[in-house]
Amino acid sequence: MRRKVLELFNYWDLLVNLTKKELKVKYRGSVIGFFWSLLNPLLTMLVFSFVFSFILRLGIKDFYIFFLCALLPWNLLANSVNISANSLVANGGLIKKIYFPREIIPLSIISSNVVSYFLELIILFIFLIVAKYPFYRLLYLLPILVIVQLFLVIGISLFFSSINVYFRDTQHLVNIFIMIWFYATPIIYPLSMVPQRFLKFMVLNPMTPLIEFYRTIFYYSKNPELGFYNFFQTPGSYYFVISFLISITVFFIGYFTFKKLEGRFAEEI
């Protein structure tokens, strides 16, 4: 395995180039180009904010910030997993003709989404600054959250992309799975609204503590005591450790599934 990881390092430049390609190709030929990737979450935010502020009044202060700071990390996961699920099949021409570490393909999709994510965060920061949220106080925690989330995202992406080579239905199932997961994660609603009897299941969802921590950093930055600690009545770090362990486990399951299946990719595509 050490050799495999070292080899991956040798192909670092390929990962960088494929990531650039992903970003370039996605928006080449469209008039406002890269701004589409920013516009999409902003419009989603507008629609949901309208619905939940004026129709289904949840009574959440600054719903657009409440929602946006959970939507962006969610999109990182959802887009990465959805697109990479079909990525190996879509790049079949390459896999059949040239050798390179196969995991580069889903990884390049994920890294292009990470780039988009960081740019979207800048938009979020602008909103936070305008609305006078002191998010910079806990901002040092952000890299830790992103790293834990990436373990999870990479694990799931490697898993589904390799399975999809053998069973093409996987990509469609993944779409549904992600949609259900969206509603099972406190993104459009606060964790405090979840009935007590569901709470213990919700913490098994590794995205729940992650989203709550993102909110603690951004949304609850005005009064952090409202954040993660209060909702669980126990130290949030405990749930974070569970989330971390689940993410690592998912990462290794995904990695070993991928390694097990990659030998016959060129034949099965």
């Binding site: 390929l14 190709v25 040239i98 069973f167």
Partner: protein, 417 residues
């Protein structure tokens, strides 16, 4: 470099860059569409498939600076072997050891993205082939110079002509500076000048001491370039060694197969083509035989060919004229049409059964398919007794002969002062 352990010391023995031991590969050929979730949930294997053994227990090694040719008929496992060397496929069993950086030219331009410019694609394709960004930057000018595409640097490759596309792809692939190059029939694409450029590049590589594995149907190129040749047949190494020996083994096999095919065609064609004449002399049988007296349909240039004609005259006939003619099958051009009268080969009279032979000591026709007509006429050559028009077929193959323009190999020599 291969090291052989002896008493704890590492001793350099043979400088082998590729070492393949007992590799086998079997493909499943599915008859139905891809397995979907329904089959999976019902624990069903994909309904029907056949096992296709593409490689069976293949072993060989290649030294540094050597060029290896792989020949064989379609489906013999050549491309599978190359893909295993390129690490695209994994063998079911056996080991492959490779020392050095491999560049596989299995398909030019794999990984080109149509929407990106030539320059952007060079970077992507280069890194796919395992180069560092820095190495590519150093080589960009060289690549554009080799491909003669400087002007189209910033044009998306979807606007390239297919020739431009190939040139760019080849330029990237050969400027990767690999230790081992795997080539699969790329030379067969592109125009004459592009092919020449490719071949020159391979000579260059060879002179620089790089190892090359070359799959091709172009036996001349294989013979000229390669140091060793593998002849694959049905997934097995049938012959391995000096190019000239292996190629002749291969050609001999091809001839045998062709002969069988020609035989089948002949039996199908019989009676379809024209035959006319009074029947006073009947041609009972015509055999084309080789120098050993065996029936044969395929001849190498300069080999002996005999047309043996059995006839039967119903009654005594004076001064008959036997003749043959040879037409090229593709365009019907009459190559030659000798007869006994023109040759002053006088036949007084014939009666009953007999045999006459037309002997060509050295057939000087260039490679191709030919039709043979056999006929017997009266002395005036107006009234046919029996005329079997283009009812027989034979083939001339090149053997080791390289001449290929025109109809015949005219006996000749060159002088220079």
């Amino acid at each position: 470099m291969l090291f052989v352990r002896s008493e704890g010391k590492k001793v350099a023995s043979v400088v082998n860059v590729i070492e393949v031991k007992n590799i086998s590969k079997t493909f499943k050929i599915y008859h139905s569409k891809a397995r979907n979730l329904k089959d999976l949930l019902l624990f069903r294997e994909r309904s029907t498939y056949e096992l296709f053994p593409a490689l069976k227990d293949v072993s060989f090694s290649l030294g540094k600076g050597e060029m290896l040719g792989i020949i064989g008929q379609n489906g013999a496992g050549k491309s599978t072997l190359l893909k295993i060397l390129a690490r695209i496929l994994q063998p079911d069993s056996g080991t492959v050891k490779i020392k050095g950086k491999v560049s596989a030219l299995l398909e030019l331009g794999a990984g080109f993205h149509p929407d990106l410019t030539g320059l952007e694609n060079i970077y992507i394709n280069g890194t796919i082939l395992g180069l560092k960004r820095k190495q590519i930057s150093e080589n960009v000018d060289k690549i554009f110079e080799f491909s003669e595409l400087e002007k189209f640097k910033d044009t998306p490759v979807k606007n390239y002509s297919s020739g431009m596309y190939m040139r760019l792809a080849f330029a990237v692939a050969v400027n990767v500076d690999p230790d081992i190059i795997l080539v699969d029939e790329v030379l067969s694409v592109g125009d004459e000048s592009f092919q020449r450029k490719c071949k020159n590049k391979f000579y260059d590589f060879k002179n620089k001491g790089k190892s090359i594995v070359f799959v091709s149907h172009d036996l001349n190129t294989v013979e000229n370039l390669c140091d060793k040749v593998i002849y694959l047949d049905d997934g097995e190494i049938k012959d391995f060694g000096e190019p000239i020996d292996v190629i002749s083994t291969y050609l001999a096999d091809i001839n045998r197969v062709e002969a069988r095919r020609a035989e089948e065609e002949k039996s199908k064609d019989d009676g379809r083509r024209n035959r006319w004449g009074s029947g006073e002399i009947e041609i009972k049988d015509v055999k084309i035989v080789n120098s050993k007296g065996e029936e044969e349909n395929i001849f190498s240039i300069n080999h002996k060919m005999i047309v043996s004609i059995d006839y039967e005259a119903k009654h005594k006939i004076n001064r008959p004229v036997f003749g043959i003619s040879i037409n090229r099958k593709t365009d019907g051009i009459l190559v030659t049409g000798p007869n006994t009268r023109f040759d002053d080969f006088v036949i007084g009279s014939v009666e009953g059964k007999g045999n006459i032979k037309f002997i060509i000591d050295r057939i000087i026709l260039l490679p191709g398919d030919y039709l043979l007509t056999v006929a017997v006429y009266d002395y005036l050559m107006i009234n046919p007794f029996d005329h079997l028009n283009e009812m027989f077929e034979f083939k001339v193959i090149a053997g080791k002969e390289k001449e290929k323009y025109g109809l015949i190999k005219i006996p000749h020599k060159w002088e220079i002062k």
